[in-house]
Amino acid sequence: MHHLTPLSGIVGGALIGLAASMLMLLTGRIAGISGIFGGLLQPGAGDRGWRIAFVAGLLAAPLLASLSGTPLPAPAMPASLIVIVIAGLLVGFGSRMGGGCTSGHGVCGIARLSARSIVATAIFMAAAIATVAVVRHGIGG
């Protein structure tokens, strides 16, 4: 059972915003994770250094937290491995095709008041809500 945690939500969100702001102010880059990670996979990409460093920072966050006694993250993944593979493929393919994910469109795009990103966020939210409705409640299925 999960409960609303508004304070940690806002504080955590503000830190995400701080990271996105610093990345733009200092390096001129957009903190879109699918773009950063996807660019890393491109053969012959010339600007791998900062991408590898950013992803390493993401991975280092839970390791740093574990030093202060927080256990390493082990999210609940009750779906079968087949479903997990399909979900991963869809998230990877879809984020590249749609030019962004929750961070690039959802946070950075909305912060820029980009109509393209606002439409993108509305669509992926609606698709995700519909998917959960079908999987959990069998609505429309």
């Binding site: 957009i30 993944m77 959802g106 439409v119 698709a127």
Partner: protein
Amino acid sequence: MLLVFVSFACGLVFGIGLLISGMTDTGKVLGFLDIFGAWDATLAFVMAGAVAVTGLGFALARRRGTPVLAAKNLWPTRRDVDTPLVIGTTLFGIGWGLVGLCPGPALVNLAGLGLPVIVFVVAMAVGMLGHDAWGTRRTLMRQIEKA
């Protein structure tokens, strides 16, 4: 070298933000998306906090004009809503809704070395590579058709 260090620090702060906000917890994310169940609105607070601070930071970046460590700000230039945007974000949303993971939280969760998360990240990388290979092939085919 400084650019690499700053990028690492930004990734670290971003990851800590995801951890504190609870967005690395698939249960909390799915709880937000489950509007017909016991709805957990936390994700909306995370978005609000992130968008507010990013809005301020980006306004500062626009006023400065150029970033501290690079030649220019690489603002996204596209403004159109086209078919790939609609189809791509729909596919992304379906995948996100299936397990509650998007790219940022998936990468942070990778540190726990759980098999399901590893499988998800590998599939995500394959999906990205698959899209990029498909895109390159389509461009090539069009050039061949034109020739």
